[in-house]
């Protein structure tokens, strides 16, 4: 099973400096944050899809299709029901959505999807080692960046181990689906304990292997891949800055909001 999202391509996005990629992720989050109007979000999502095609992340986006749907739909529906502004266009018991609440719910759902999409694009074009380098160039302590790197490495191992444990307990006649919601969570104890104990053992082995390879000797390790800033990084920086500014202007001028629902005045 492929557990990493990284797509090994030589696209221009792949070749950007790690720091720029991290800034790119930040810029995407910043821009999406200011915009609530689903129509205004459309060009941003289209831009993300163009990047996805350029870096060869189409398959990753497809892999997340159910995840997008699972996030977007409940978010959209919850807001449509709970956000009560404007004149209801349907009146069905507690469900009284107005045009504004429908747009608002849709916008919230698209926002979450756009944020997840940005993260998928980031991980598709950035090796975890680059993430670590990028974070340290941005002034984060080296160990912090490395811990994140390690988390990416460990999560698939733990998922794998959890799946095996579930199988082992099912074969001993254990029924994970019995009882109500609380009981069901409680019934995962026979999974959590073996996975947790295994994780502790694995972490201990990793710690030994790390120290034995010189981890901790220097707080500023060298890198065998040279990361230099190029003209393309400067161009990307300007482009991203422009996007951030545009998003803020859209918000400030009201184009980022749902018509008739001006909150930030």
């Amino acid at each position: 099973m492929k557990t990493s999202l990284y797509v090994d391509r030589g696209s221009i996005v792949h070749r950007l400096h790690p720091t720029l990629k991290i800034f790119g992720l930040f810029a995407a989050f910043w821009s999406i944050y200011w915009i609530d109007n689903p129509l205004t979000l459309v060009p941003f999502i289209v831009a993300e899809l163009v990047v996805a095609a350029a870096i060869g992340a189409g398959e990753n986006v497809y892999r997340f299709r159910w995840f997008f749907l699972l996030i977007v739909l409940p978010t959209a529906i919850t807001w449509m029901i709970s956000y009560r502004r404007g004149t209801p266009i349907i009146n069905l018991w507690i469900i009284k959505p107005s045009l504004q609440s429908i747009l608002f719910g849709l916008g919230k759902g698209m926002k979450v999807a756009a944020l997840v999409l940005a993260s998928v694009l980031f991980l598709s074009s950035t090796k975890v080692e680059e993430l670590s380098v990028g974070l340290s160039r941005l002034g984060f302590p080296y160990r912090f960046g490395f811990t994140i790197t390690l988390a990416f490495r460990l999560v698939p191992l733990f998922i794998d181990s959890a799946l095996t444990v579930v199988d082992a307990q099912r074969l001993r006649g254990y029924d994970f689906d019995a009882g109500g919601p609380v009981e069901r969570i409680r019934r995962y104890v026979p999974v959590i304990i073996p996975v947790f104990m295994g994780a502790l053992r694995k972490a201990n082995n990793m710690a030994m292997a790390l120290e034995a390879r010189g981890f901790g000797r220097s707080n500023d390790p060298t890198s065998f891949i040279e990361y230099r800033m190029h003209a393309r990084d400067a161009e990307a920086f300007v482009l991203l800055l422009a996007m951030c500014t545009l998003a803020f202007i859209l918000y400030w001028t009201g184009y980022g909001e749902i018509p008739g629902m001006r909150i930030h005045s």
């Binding site: 095996t164 001993r172 034995a212 390879r213």
Partner: protein, 578 residues
Amino acid sequence: MKAETSAIAAASLRESAEVAVRVEDLTFSYAGSRAPALRNINLAQRAGEMIGIMGASGAGKSTLAKVLNRIVPEMEGGDLRGVVMLNGRAIANSHVCDLAGEIGMVFQDFEAQLFSTTVAHEVAFAMERVGMPREEILARLDRALDAVGLRGFEHRDPTTLSGGQKQRLAIASVLALRPRLVVLDEPTTDLDPEGRAEVFALIHRMREQGASLIVIEHEAEELRQCDRVVILREGAIIAEGTPATVMPQIELLEECGINAPSLDRVMRVLEIEHHPTSIADAEQHIRKQLPHAAQIANEDFIEENRAVTESKTILEIDSAAFSYPDGPRVLDGMSLKIAAGEFVAIVGQNGSGKTTLAKMSVGLLAPDTGTVMLEGRDRTTLRPAETAREIGYVFQNPDHQIFADTVEAEVKFGPQNFGLAPDEVEARCAEVLHAVGLENERATDPFLLGKGQRQRLAVASVLALRPRLLILDEPTTGLDYREQRKMMKLVSELNASGVAIVMITHTPWLVAEYARRVVLMRAGRKLFDGPVRDFFVQDELLRASSFKPPEVTALSRRFGALALSAEELVEGLRGKPR
């Protein structure tokens, strides 16, 4: 005074050139433990020497290795007395990370030694950590990959490599720092035969190039190439010497939980005083001493009880194919019948489909095409829990199922899930704990048990459901020889009591000594299915699968027969009039 100082300095220099390791009066106890893990160890290793360390689980082998790079006591604390010198320098004030360039450590768990997303990053990892300049890293990278035969794999994701490749990568990342000493702590325990062969070939090359090596290993046969072997028992060195002086001491080795080389065992029983360095060497000495033993015949020792008898089929898999989503085909046209009371070994490289086959048998996976029948019923219509009482599956790692506070609760978990009456649950618990020899550990926390005991507990908790067919996935991995024998005695007894056994394994002598039928798999297909004695004459298949027959089996073929154990061969050789 000055002359004296320079004499000491000169001696120290000479020492650093000649002696890689010196350990003097070393005693260590882990924090919170009363019994010392190491007792009064004295050991010196010349530069370029290869030392093999053997001993039962808990004898102190790994602790000794960890002392050499300060993991003990820096990361695993306790009371350490004595002196440890690396390359002529005492290391008492060094940190683990500071010693990275002097001593390279390779551990058993290769998954836990790889941290990077590409092979190149992995090899560069240690060099980056010690702050090596980029040009130097690049220069060393290629040479390290060359040394372990992974040139051309630079951009591969390490998680996609085979076990043997992963372990070789771990070795490359250690070699890149060019340490003066490399310590390998059971580097092949988790590997399949091909991986084992790859890693031992690499160790052999490193030795030829003059590296100072310390290799910890369970199988004595693999350490024949060492300059010296050291036997540890309860933390103390109880024997030390060349393989020729130590390996013929069969009783001593077995007392220490070590599997003595089978060739030495044969020589010993035949009362030939010689330590064979190879199969050919053993043959030559036997022929010299027993000139009448030119040829022996299988009839001299074939036991009738090994013959496969026809009985009722429990499990029948017919033309099954299976692929994981978006993955290649893992099983392809696989057919297999298991009858009541059989003992079948399934062998083949990792990735050949053995575990998928087992999971399909117990209903964790359904075939894409083909059928799986359990006692005449279609397996796919039954849930795993419904048939757990007919087929039991013991996973490779016992820690994947153990969770309870006590041994007793762990065993009772299965029967309770099936809603059996408390009296019945109690009776079964007592029965299986007795069978696996854990009756005195009822109230013990399973996590305090040794690996062998945990493995037997896992078997007990599956046995408590009284399956008629038991599938064991590599039941002896990570166990020392004594524990392996205990485990296999248990499995044999179960089989004798009527439980059919399917055992997935990589260990040739287990197949030879215990199984009656062998199924060899490769790339999701069955390449061989027949009696064990027929299996070990399939030279082509065995070679292609890197499955080396036990040495004693190979030796017996030089006498025209096929023996499955040292005892059988000796019986055959002695059967002939001298």
